[in-house]
């Protein structure tokens, strides 16, 4: 037991004496949580629209003014020359062209008019498709208004949409839990591995290996400091999310901490296992990056798992962050309880156990 305590003390002393680590552990979560939610947004704003108005009627002007008023769209100008607008699109000044055909208003009154055409620059696929959607909605609203004025009894909206749990469709609220997980992966996933490989490089691990310290004791002493650091990081991240973005968990904070405890154990155990197979820092970093890329891109942190190809969806079953992101998002946004999420917790618990046993087994004192 004393062996364990002195080893734990040693780890804390080393972290504290490191000229860089304590600063990193404090600054990193604050920076990431302050800045990244602003950047990692898929909300499309400032879609530049040009209107080719061949109709020049009240209806067309109504559409133009609606586009102008939209917070997502910005009107670059109206023209009567399609070629002028197309030039702008090619140069990248314009994202979407709306062409209102000749006699649109007149035709609308009597029969089905010629269609309004929308031409979008889809090089940036998200901006192209989202921009088009916004315009379709805006135009539909204008036309609905006009129709409603003409025959008031038809003035009822055809569809209503209600977004539950994230009512404002705030992309940040969706991303903040993902950012927290990225923080855990970067801090609690990389640091333990680097600490072990650092000892291999400096030769100190050999002095440990020649003592009777058990593999489990040594592994736990490496693990626990990062576990505590992970809890600290979570706390900082939650405070920033609350103060800066007004995001508080709907569900229980206890459930979040419990999930984080299991997830950090998992990711640290994983990291120690990688370190046991590596001889140098470069090797560790490269192997870690390989897996971290998979974790970040395939676990549903940034893109929904449901829209992945079938084989990829099946593959996500073995990715620990997948379970934790579900826990974090549903507790934060929906207030889901521990009982409803039990299968996710069970999965994380199993991963934590597997990786830490693996870390203790693959640590070889005698080669």
């Amino acid at each position: 037991m004393r062996g364990f305590i002195v080893l734990l003390q040693k780890e804390f002393l080393q972290i504290r004496r490191n000229p860089f680590l304590p600063k990193l552990i404090i600054a990193f979560p604050i920076m990431i949580m302050l800045i990244m939610p602003l950047i990692m947004t898929m909300d499309v704003r400032n879609v530049n629209v040009a209107v080719v108005d061949l109709d020049r009627s009240t209806t067309s002007r109504r559409i133009v003014s609606h586009i102008e008023a939209s917070e997502y769209l910005s009107l670059v100008g109206t023209t009567s020359e399609y070629s002028v607008a197309m030039e702008g699109l090619e140069q990248g000044d314009i994202d979407v062209i709306v062409q209102i055909p000749d006699d649109f208003e007149r035709d609308m009154a009597v029969s089905s008019p010629q269609k309004i055409s929308i031409i979008a620059n889809a090089v940036n696929a998200t901006k192209g498709s989202m921009g088009t959607q916004y315009i379709v909605q805006t135009i539909a609203r204008s036309l609905m208004e006009i129709r409603g004025e003409r025959s008031p009894n038809e003035q009822s909206e055809l569809i209503t949409v209600q977004n539950r749990f994230n009512p404002t469709l705030n992309y940040r609220h969706y991303m903040i839990p993902a950012l927290m997980i990225i923080l855990f992966i970067l801090i609690c996933g990389f640091l333990p591995a680097l600490s072990i490989v650092g000892e291999k490089e400096s030769g100190t691990i050999e002095q440990i290996n020649v003592t009777p310290v058990s593999r489990l004791t040594f592994t736990l002493a490496k693990l626990i400091p990062y576990w505590i650091i992970g809890m600290f990081v979570l706390t900082v991240a939650m405070i920033v999310a609350r103060l800066v973005y007004g995001l508080t968990p709907v569900g229980s904070i206890g459930v979040i901490y419990f999930g984080a405890m299991l997830f950090i154990l998992t990711i640290s155990g994983f990291s120690l296992t990688i370190a046991n197979f590596s001889e140098t820092m470069q090797q560790t970093m490269f192997v870690m990056f390989f897996f971290v890329m998979i974790f970040m891109l395939m676990s549903g942190l940034l893109t929904p798992i449901d829209s992945m190809p079938d084989w990829a969806q099946k593959f996500t079953v073995i990715l620990p962050p997948r379970y934790f992101i579900e826990i974090l998002r549903s507790v934060y946004l929906k207030g889901t309880t521990l009982a409803e999420l039990w299968s996710n917790f069970a999965a994380l618990g199993v991963f934590a156990l597997i990786f830490n046993i693996l870390a203790a087994i693959t640590y070889k004192k005698q080669a």
Binding site: V6, R17, N18, G203, T204, E206, T211, Q366
Partner: protein, 246 residues
């Protein structure tokens, strides 16, 4: 307790086709200072690592402090001290913190650690450096501290791998005084060195060439056997036959 502390029979370690240690056999008696000589690459460190339970032998057998080196590595580790070729205390911990760490790992109680550390620091004239970071100590001091920490738990055997490499003559002298002191206390010393004057201090010396033990006896008898003036000559006569380069 038996008189033989280390006993090795036909010990071999291969890395692929290369036999780093090639069927070596020898015994080391309790309280001996056993000099383990050999040119660079002769296989000294590899052999020593097997004896310390850091590396598994490819074939052959051996016991250290009565425990089997293949099966009871962790038992052996309770009874030995080891000082590697590379300085391997924690540079970012202080002298006291390093002592406390290793004493704690070997299971010494807090009170025992405190009393032994105080005694040890006094003996080394290190009392004023108690709270100095080890990384800022000069090499000679570091080596003396390493030795003191390797023997903090009063092991039966201490393995020293080139402990005085790069150390000045005065510190080297002091270092050997510490070795003698430990040997007088009944600790067996197993030491590798490239300094032939140090070889003269040993009770018995073995010389390894190309993974094999070529000679093993007291320095006096080895000199007689090879009709040499000094251990230096004995070593050069034997090492000249080496096939392996550095």
């Amino acid at each position: 307790m038996s008189d033989i502390v280390i006993s090795v029979r036909e010990l071999t370690k291969c890395f692929g086709d290369f036999a780093a240690v090639d069927h070596i056999s020898f015994d080391v008696r309790r309280g001996e200072i056993f000099g383990f000589l050999g040119a660079n690459g002769a296989g000294k460190t590899t052999a020593m690592r097997m004896l310390c339970g850091l590396s598994y032998p490819t074939s052959g057998s051996g016991t250290v402090a009565g425990f089997d080196i293949t099966k009871e590595g962790e038992q052996i580790k309770r009874h030995i001290g080891y000082m590697s070729q590379r300085f391997s205390l924690y540079n970012d911990l202080t002298v006291w913190e390093n002592i406390n760490l290793f004493a704690g790992i070997y299971g010494l109680s807090k009170a025992d650690t405190e009393s032994r550390a105080t005694e040890l620091l006094e003996r080394l004239n290190f009392t004023s450096e108690r709270n100095t970071l080890v990384g800022s100590l000069p090499l000679g001091w570091k080596q003396k501290l390493s030795f003191a920490i390797a023997t903090i738990h009063r092991p039966e055997v201490v393995f020293l791998d080139e402990p005085t490499g790069g150390v000045d003559p005065i510190t080297r002298r002091q270092f050997w005084e510490m070795i003698y002191e430990a040997a007088d206390g009944g600790t067996t010393i197993f030491v590798t060195t490239h300094y032939m004057d140090e070889a003269e201090y040993c009770s018995r010396v073995s010389i390894m060439v190309d993974g094999k033990v070529c000679a093993l006896d007291t320095p006096a008898r080895l000199k007689q056997q090879f009709a040499a003036e000094s251990m230096d000559e004995v070593f050069r006569t034997l090492a000249r036959g080496a096939q392996r380069g550095e």
